[in-house]
């Protein structure tokens, strides 16, 4: 019986390999040309002293340079702190919002989703102007007015090393969850009603359903958002660059910013490439851990 089943499956799966390759063919070509090739170049450059008119191979010098640099490790530390403070909060917030939207009427669902999605369409310039106003250190600053109402003294948000990291984290908390909310809502809609029906028959409470149905069913989505979130957060550069320039006293220097400086301020392309590969290795390790602990795709 078991044997027939497996041979049946084999028969059914015959030819799948070819289809498998066919489905990824375009993706693979695009990937090879526009992603793999630049990455391989970067890998080669990391062993060079790069000059457009002719580079020289210098072995592992770029890598030893990194491991000697205390600033690189400080930047890694800052990035880890930033990631730990932002990514889980972003996941929880967007999950909560997605769940809260679900019982509402359709038009309200639409409206709220549009509302949360909106900040993503705003121009970066508008956003940065507004955030500078929010963090304005003078009495007129929005955040200072807010905490002033609770009797707290005005803070020099972006200008002091005690608050600058927190300010960047706050900025991330309050902006751009649109993408993850939309993805979570889509995933929630994908859960088959029959699960809930079965649970209702068993008299399951809201929290029980949440824990036994929603959380496991959303695992692949959560994994996706977690991995891409961590990758994004490790490469974060724009906010630190625009809002604090990494300061004060390197309190907000992130690896992304450091790589940018190395590549474009000091024109040490080889070292920048080496830095990014070390960074990629770390991200890769973390992604591996995430896959290991969350990665078991839910089987039905």
């Amino acid at each position: 019986m078991a044997r027939t089943a497996s041979s049946n499956r084999n028969r059914l799966n015959r030819g799948d390999g070819a289809w498998g390759y066919a489905f990824i063919a375009v993706a693979l070509v695009v990937y090879t040309l526009f992603t793999a090739y630049p990455v391989v170049s970067a890998f080669l450059i990391s062993f060079q002293e790069y000059k457009p008119l002719g580079s020289t191979y210098i072995g592992l010098d770029n890598y030893t340079e990194i491991f000697k640099s205390s600033l690189f490790w400080k930047a890694i530390g800052n990035t880890v702190v930033y990631t730990i403070l932002t990514v889980p909060v972003a996941l929880i917030l967007s999950f909560a919002v997605a769940v809260m939207i679900m019982p509402l009427r359709k038009w309200m669902q639409t409206t709220f989703k549009a509302v949360y999605y909106l900040p993503a369409v705003a121009s970066g310039v508008a956003l940065s102007v507004v955030w500078l106003w929010i963090f304005d250190p003078m009495q007129g600053g929005i955040l200072n007015q807010l905490i002033g109402a609770f009797g707290i003294d005005s803070q020099n948000w972006l200008g002091a090393s005690s608050t600058s990291m927190f300010s960047l984290v706050l900025m991330s908390w309050l902006s751009s969850h649109g993408t993850s909310i939309i993805i979570y809502v889509a995933a929630l809609l994908g859960i088959d009603d029959s699960y809930y029906e079965a649970a209702d028959i068993d008299g399951a409470s809201f929290l029980q359903k949440m824990w036994h149905i929603v959380v496991p069913c959303l695992k692949p989505t959560t994994l996706f958002l977690l991995v891409t979130g961590v990758i994004g957060s490790f490469q974060v550069f724009q906010n630190a660059y625009l809002m604090t320039g990494g300061g004060p006293d390197h309190a907000t220097t992130m690896v992304g910013l450091l790589i940018f400086d190395t590549a474009f301020k000091y024109f040490e392309f080889g070292e920048a490439a080496a830095q990014s590969l070390v960074l990629a290795l770390m991200i890769g390790f973390m992604a591996f851990l995430q896959f290991k602990f969350l990665g078991k795709d839910v089987e039905y």
């Binding site: 391989v40 170049s41 080669l44 790069y50 000059k51 457009p52 008119l53 600033l71 102007v129 500078l132 963090f135 304005d136 250190p137 003078m138 009495q139 005005s154 020099n156 948000w157 972006l158 200008g159 002091a160 090393s161 625009l242 809002m243 604090t244 320039g245 990494g246 300061g247 004060p248 006293d249 390197h250 220097t253 400086d261 474009f264 301020k265 000091y266 024109f267 392309f269």
Partner: protein, 480 residues
């Protein structure tokens, strides 16, 4: 494994080489090689066709509108030559240029700051035009700004303007505080005088400060401008002394750091100064929250006048809560009895080369295009818009016919500042310059931000800078 990687390396190398050759042949159809070939087959080559590409940001509001006109005018002047202007936005243009340079295919001409030359020279991607500029061109351009376009023995471009980064005050407030601004404009002031003046400029209502004496934009990376402008007037016009020792280990540097803290502690500057950005401080100037602001450029007089007009129109278009202001150009105070040395910024048209050495002919054409942009009508118009002084004879002549809204006393003040401008230092080797930039980015700016935020003391910061300088340049490489 080894074999495999060698194979991929050689394939890659092949691809890159092929690409490079391809690029040389067809980079926007303007490459030296292609033109050269065309020139040779064309026979005499006297009037061979050539295209010059220029990467230009919107230098002034009218600049970009005039691109078409510039291209046409240039073609009229040299019928065999085509000027192809690549527009780029102001803040991102460096990154575009850097990418193009690193890819080995920069434009022929790019508009950049003179301090950028050494960075590209390190990669051997700038073009030395010393032997190509004609004596007439050199005679037309003022010497001081032209010096800025030099590095080592080479001349790498032609200057567009020379602007002084100074400070600026609001006339009614200055007079209210009893400051003889006319005298300051003509002969400068010392830090001690300045400190008293900005103390007098403070207006308080109970405990809250309604108006500060002095506000300088220092948020993020802008903080380096503040420090750089001040130390120039403390006997350190350049990061390196004449005998090429790193200058910022001088005790005068500590004096400046102490003064910076002092002005904040006096209450003349806001204690939150470390997060005041360029937009915010100008807003504070227009809304009467500060008497003096920095960094100041001559063109701010124009912005101030425009806002006054809007206040008069009373249609709600003026900056919210703004008051009428009258911008007065002021010099930066001097420290420790040192002579004034104003921070001059020279931007200009720098010549670049691609992977292949350009032909002499193409090089000459590039210089023609750079000179066309840097002189005469184009320069007159641009510098007029920017309230910047003309730095070519031909530009001065062409600007006579253009109207100017700049007040005479500010014009004179700018001239005074230009006369005290810190001289160019083409003798600083590119390698030393690069080290200084790295030291500035990784140590000075972060520590300085901490100093402004009150998280470190001037003495501590001075020690940190000194230590880092010795680490970078060696005991003998720094000023003692």
């Amino acid at each position: 494994m080894k074999k495999g990687s060698r194979f991929s390396v050689s394939v890659l190398a092949l691809m890159v080489t092929a690409g490079v050759l391809g690029a040389c042949g067809s980079n926007n159809g303007n490459s030296p090689a292609a033109n050269n070939a065309a020139g040779n087959t064309g026979g005499e080559g006297a009037a061979a066709k050539d295209t010059i590409t220029a990467l230009l940001p919107p230098v002034s509001p009218t600049y970009q509108e005039n691109f078409k006109q510039m291209e046409a005018d240039f073609n009229k002047l040299y019928p065999n030559l085509t000027l192809k202007i690549e527009p780029a936005s102001w803040e991102d243009m460096t990154q575009k240029l850097d990418t193009q340079v690193n890819a080995g295919s920069p434009p022929d001409i790019a508009f950049i700051g003179s301090e950028g030359i050494s960075k590209y020279k390190q990669l051997d991607m700038v073009l030395d035009i010393t032997d190509t500029v004609t004596p007439e061109m050199v005679a037309d351009i003022d010497e001081a700004p032209l010096e800025y376009m030099k590095n080592g023995d080479g001349l790498y471009g032609l200057p567009a303007y020379m602007e002084v980064h100074a400070i600026g005050g609001n006339k009614p407030f200055l007079e209210e505080a009893g400051i003889d601004w006319k005298k300051v404009q003509q002969s400068g002031w010392t830090y001690e005088e300045f400190r008293e003046a900005i103390k007098k400029g403070v207006v308080k209502e109970g405990d809250t400060t309604k108006r500060y004496g002095f506000v300088f934009a220092t948020a993020g990376v802008a903080s380096k401008d503040y420090l750089a402008i001040l130390v120039k007037n403390a006997g350190m016009p350049s990061p390196f002394t004449k005998d090429l020792k790193y200058a910022y280990t001088s005790p005068n540097y500590l004096e400046v750091l102490k003064a910076i803290r002092q002005m904040i502690d006096d209450g003349s500057m806001p204690k939150e100064i470390s997060s005041v950005d360029a937009g915010k401080r100008w807003n504070m100037f227009l809304t009467g929250q500060t008497m003096i602001t920095g960094k100041g450029l001559a063109v701010f007089e124009n912005s101030s006048m425009k806002n006054n007009e809007k206040i008069d129109a009373n249609d709600g278009s003026a900056v919210k809560d703004s008051v009428k202001t009258d911008y007065v150009v002021l010099p930066v105070p001097t420290f420790a009895g040192q002579p004034a040395a104003s921070a001059a910024v020279v931007d200009g048209y720098v010549a670049f080369r691609g992977k292949k050495e350009p032909t002499a002919e193409h090089k000459a054409n590039v210089v023609k295009a750079a000179y066309f942009l840097a002189s005469g009508q184009v320069a007159a118009q641009t510098n007029g818009d920017l309230f910047a002084a003309q730095i070519t004879d031909s530009g001065r002549k062409a600007s006579e016919s253009l109207p100017s809204k700049q007040s005479d006393y500010n014009k004179a003040a700018v001239q005074y500042l230009l006369s005290t401008a810190a001289p160019a230092r083409p003798d600083i080797p590119a390698e030393l310059g690069a080290k200084a930039i790295k030291l500035e980015t990784e140590v000075i700016v972060p520590k300085f931000q901490a100093l402004l935020a009150g998280e470190t003391t001037p003495e501590k910061m001075f020690e940190d800078v000194k230590k880092a300088a010795v680490d970078t340049f060696g005991e003998d490489g720094v000023f003692k």
